[in-house]
Symmetry: C2
Subunit: 709 residues, 2 copies
């Protein structure tokens, strides 16, 4: 029945103030109200309907996205939305589009790397969307390995122009979002050639980069490379490091502003279908080749390095703080996105687990709600707890960004390596856990989770690139490991800072073992944090010792890569656990809000402890008995989460539009809506399917020999 | 360049005879030749082209599948293929179609549950495909919980007919493959009502089933329910157990054989899109409602139970052996499919890891092949080893099926519970590992794995239902756990058999600890198997002890569900490891073949040991030091796999057609083909995208206010 809330009994069970929890989740009342306003604006506007998306052909799908992007932009302009509001609006439109790259990469890159003059010329055009830009870095044969880029930009002093060229097939730009069909301009990264000489990575730096790479064994993104090299050669002038690592960026017009046709020398198109129905196929990830395309000299972004009219290559004194700040900022956004994606999936799976009933009927009464089964709880509730944990660690990263920025502005670089390791690790941990968690939520919905109308297949398909972009997750953990090993090796004379401060107590952490004796003893934040600290510290120290056995440290690093990754993950889990614990030391208003979060914090920590008990045991910090007690406590905690489960996902404040899931409907009215939705599949347009007369009738009538197949 | 083998250097490295390994993989020379012949028949026939599949709209996609199915059937008829050949042909066509259900479920169900008369009437029609049938059991509100089915079949003695009816929305049949558009008939499972009385599960049995369900906490498929109940009430007449658990099956005509329109009272259609591009959307999974549809009495399958003309319900003496044999048979097929799916993904990821180069370039030479990095090896090679492990355990299950069948025919039921637990567990283990493994392979291909043309997204999307159908994987493990706990509790007076025989040595396994002292000591099948036995036995015993603390054993079972699942998985991993070890005790011809398989066997076992080291340590069988030694040995083993990696995936003998992946091409010519493929996306049909003039031009020209969106 329409208008009935089938989950009302569940909502009555809640032991906390849901409205207060919504504010805690959003971060502040203002943040909640802004987000809520934008969510409703989108949800109530039929122009942003999502249901048919997965059924559209690629062309229809793309056209529909262009329409939504235009409609969104019109709202932003008409309602004079602030930048912050516009960001939330685009988020809730929930459809990857060229505008994401235009606003998220093209404009910020010009802001960061352009001279004042260049900004004055290009930013107004871009901000009014008189031009549409994308960010063209990766190539067909080269992921984020910036050294490997093959596209060239050769300076021609006679014409005062650069000649942009793709010398090989593998140098084709490949993947940039918005490049294929929408963008009029691209920010193209290329190897600069001036006077016949490459101005790329070379000499001493080449060696440094090469050692970094062989250690890491995988593509490293620009920012990462810079920071790593910074750490490897701390005394070198940062600005040199910076410009030599980056290929230079060039603003290149791709298409005519009149008829949108590709300009001479430009070959551009879409790279084809990606994973999933709808999903990221709304985006025109593109391929681009240059055949000696000429651009004026002033279209090289020259804040960092310049090429003069005379063909002289120069570098400026870069205000590097902003560049590094950006890295921390981007990572923080990714962690925040992870908590959004995971919480969406958890919201769907939790609500449907309360709706769905299977077995356990007594005397012909209704069957048991699936959410009441321990196997369901032990898979679902840790994900619910993770969503909250990621939300709070993301919030803390926002603070870290401000802190790093302020320090950099004051020329204080002391916390930079730690901040880099921390953000890299958290990006890796949260995106991997979220991708896996979305798929787990799909499985928790049983067979119906496989239907596109459950929303989970599309959520998964659209999310998983996060594990690869901005640094492959395994590579990032290797970088964290490198930092940890270095921190350990320097303990004698260098005080570890920030999230590695616990390493300063390494002697105690190596020596003291866990003192837990009863199930209740585990309900102690101090005991939990120390357990995670001891495990992480002991694993880092063990890696350091193993590495010391190798003559060539880089060979050791390559050989022990898997162990290093495990140590890094242990460290990152510690960060998430301790930031959750710290959050709970703050004042959190609202009846029962803090108590409910405390339960989730314990669930998150003890779930990880059980999952990785091998490491806690192998390092000798825990006894098998203590591990068993933790697991028993975990079961008790699940029972405490149970009555609050629906309210905890209601607190995300997601509209049915944003969730995009019949299984996750707020009102729980699942089955009639699934049934209704089925009939909208194009296959149901006619009673007898297209192709029946050609391909099935001849079989049934035993006339296949004469049929035309 | 066409015709060049870019992987030739890799192939030269192989230390074994690839042709002999192909035979070892296939099981026999005959099996290899049959499979090879069918694979090539499909690959060389342009009618079975797969590349455009993911780009088709739902209607085009379905029509295309109908075409392929007809073409396949024509080949089977024209070439007079045997049943075995036809099965391989359908497999290599590699496109889910209504024919899968017609041949795989509809016909076998009539064979198993029909009387001689019924078989004589229906089987010839079905085998000539004069009718097309599907298997309609699950309902919108009810998964595999056969008790919960709501569809009714009421006997009307006046008319000598059954009235098939869907009394509620949730009773709509939902999910059956082939039901939506193709099938003319369905085998419908419904609650039988004779003389106003339900002939479903009730009375004593109702209680038994209910206790089973609350323990298991999830849908249980028919076969599972039967066998569990059989175990719970061993002394009851099996045939009673059997018929009371099943709803009865009715052959119902759905569509006219003339115009294919749904018959009166029948509402039938497709349930809508499922996960992924192409993938399972080639199948018309259907929804079906009955409005008092009448069928003749003799369309109830009456081998097991009859309703007489007079309205008397009777049961026959069922030759139950075949029914149970079927269960083992189906599971064995699923395990075999798992090894196929995983090996496809591994083949793609391995070849592309050898093609792809990233970093590590020395003096401007080529970059390092990704496959040479330890992080890549430590993720990829265990999956390669798993593919082989699953292949061999599947082969062993085939033997088990024969064995069980022979015993049942001789009225020997002694091994049945063990065979059930074993097949249930292996189905769960292999399908979960395969689903996760395919996604891991996709990640191992970096960014390009996200492209549909990598083949991995579709492979994943089409595979994952295997984790849910024929018993949800978690539920199955709970059943294994129940069996293990029972086995432990009966140890004093009942000799454990088959894969649980090791439990007979439980005293020794509880007492003796691992004797490994050096890295080399781990290269010992005896040491490895004993470690897995000790871990599994100790975990089962621990569960038994925990359960004993509960007054109500079923409550204990529900509360400890997660621990039980872990114990069950440990037992199942032991089975796979020991069957791999046993395989290697056989004669395996071919230079270096056995040696290469031995390495894979160690990789599989030691990888699991490392992954689950917490359990090996917590149970006290291993010391942390021994776990470290195992991990060190594992690294050495990876280096031994490396030179053979490409040859090991070549040995699967997959055609490029079957792989369906540009990244996994046999010749390694990846980049030019990716580039070529991009241009075939419909978005590239025109230089300027559809929708540009409506939705982008007005933005660029600042005329959005007057645009029609």
């Amino acid at each position: 029945m329409e208008g009935v809330d089938y989950l009302i009994d569940e909502r009555k069970k809640a032991q906390f103030d849901v409205e207060a929890m919504k504010v805690a989740w959003a971060g502040s009342r203002e943040a909640f109200e802004l987000s809520d306003r934008m969510a409703k604006l989108v949800a109530n506007d039929p122009a942003f309907e999502k249901f048919t998306r997965p059924m559209l052909s690629r062309k229809e799908l793309f056209k529909n996205t262009l329409r939504k992007a235009a409609h969104g932009w019109k709202l932003i302009v008409d309602l004079r939305l602030t930048e912050e509001e516009a960001k939330w609006l685009r988020l809730y439109i929930d459809e990857p589009a060229y505008t994401d790259l235009h606003w998220g990469m093209f404009i910020p890159a010009i802001e960061g790397q352009g001279t004042e003059e260049q900004k004055k010329k290009w930013l107004p055009l871009a901000r009014r969307m008189q031009i549409i830009g994308c960010y063209a870095q990766t190539e067909l044969g080269h992921g984020s390995n910036v050294q490997g880029l093959e596209t060239t930009a050769t300076f021609d002093p006679q014409a005062d122009e650069f000649v942009i060229h793709s010398p090989t097939l593998t140098s084709s730009k490949w993947w940039p979002g918005g490049l294929g069909k929408a963008s009029t301009h691209a920010l193209v990264y290329a190897r600069l050639i001036v006077g016949g000489e490459f101005h790329g990575v070379h000499g001493t730096l080449r060696k440094l980069v090469s050692s970094l790479n062989s250690a890491v064994g995988k593509p490293v993104s620009n920012c990462i490379a810079v920071v790593c090299i910074y750490r490897l050669c701390g005394k070198m002038n940062l600005s040199i490091v910076y410009h030599r690592c980056f290929n230079e960026g060039f603003i290149v017009q791709l298409r005519s502003l009149e008829d949108h046709l590709p300009l001479p020398g430009i070959t551009v198109g879409d790279i084809g279908l990606k994973f999933g129905n709808g999903a990221y196929n709304t985006m025109d990830n593109g391929v681009l080749r240059f055949d000696h395309v000429r651009i004026p000299r002033d279209q090289m972004l020259m804040r960092v390095a310049q090429v003069t009219k005379e063909g002289k290559f120069r570098q400026s004194d870069v205000p590097r703080q902003l560049l590094y700040g950006t890295m921390v900022y981007v990572r923080q956004t990714i962690v925040s996105d992870a908590s959004k994606a995971l919480s969406r999936a958890v919201c769907i799976a939790t609500r449907y687990s309360a709706v769905r009933r299977q077995f356990g009927s007594r005397n012909g009464g209704p069957e048991t709600q699936v959410i009441d089964y321990k196997t369901q709880q032990s898979r679902l509730f840790p994900l619910l707890a993770s969503a909250y944990a990621f939300r709070f660690v993301g919030e803390w990263l926002k603070w870290l960004y401000t802190d790093v920025k302020q320090r950099l502005e004051a020329n204080d670089f002391s916390t930079l390596p730690e901040a880099h390791a921390c953000t890299a690790g958290l990006k890796s941990l949260t995106t991997t856990a979220t991708a896996d968690g979305i798929e787990e939520c799909r499985k928790l919905c049983g067979g119906h989770g496989y239907l596109v109308s459950s929303g989970l297949p599309e959520l998964f398909a659209v999310y998983i690139p996060a594990c690869t972009y901005e640094g492959d997750n395994v590579v990032l953990l290797l970088q964290v490991a490198r930092f940890l090993v270095k921190t350990v090796s320097e303990l004698g004379y260098k005080q570890p800072v920030g999230t590695t401060a616990y390493m300063g107590r390494v002697a105690a952490l190596m020596q003291n073992n866990c003192t837990v004796r009863t199930v209740e003893d585990w309900l102690n934040p101090g005991a939990i944090v120390e357990a995670f600290e001891a495990r992480a510290a002991r694993m880092s120290v063990a890696c350091g010792r193993q590495l010391a056995k190798f003559e060539n440290p880089e060979e050791g690093f390559a050989e022990l890569a898997s162990d290093l990754v495990e140590a890094a993950l242990a460290h990152c889990q510690l960060i998430v656990v301790s930031k959750f614990v710290e959050k709970l030391q703050q004042d959190i208003p609202g009846k029962g809000v803090k108590q409910s979060l405390e339960i989730l914090c314990y669930v998150y920590a003890l779930f990880l402890l059980h999952k990785h008990q091998g490491e806690f045991l192998a390092t000798g910090y825990l006894t098998p008995k203590q591990a068993v007690l933790a697991n028993e406590q975990l079961r008790t905690l699940y029972s405490k989460v149970r009555p609050n489960a629906i309210a905890l996902v209601d607190s995300f404040n997601y509209t049915d539009h944003y969730l995009g899931s019949i299984l996750g409907r707020y009102d729980g009215n699942v089955y009639p809506k699934l049934y209704e939705a089925a009939w909208q599949d194009p296959l149901n347009d006619s009673d007898v399917a297209d192709g029946f007369h050609q391909y099935v009738q001849p079989i049934l009538k035993q006339k296949l020999h004469s049929a035309k197949l």
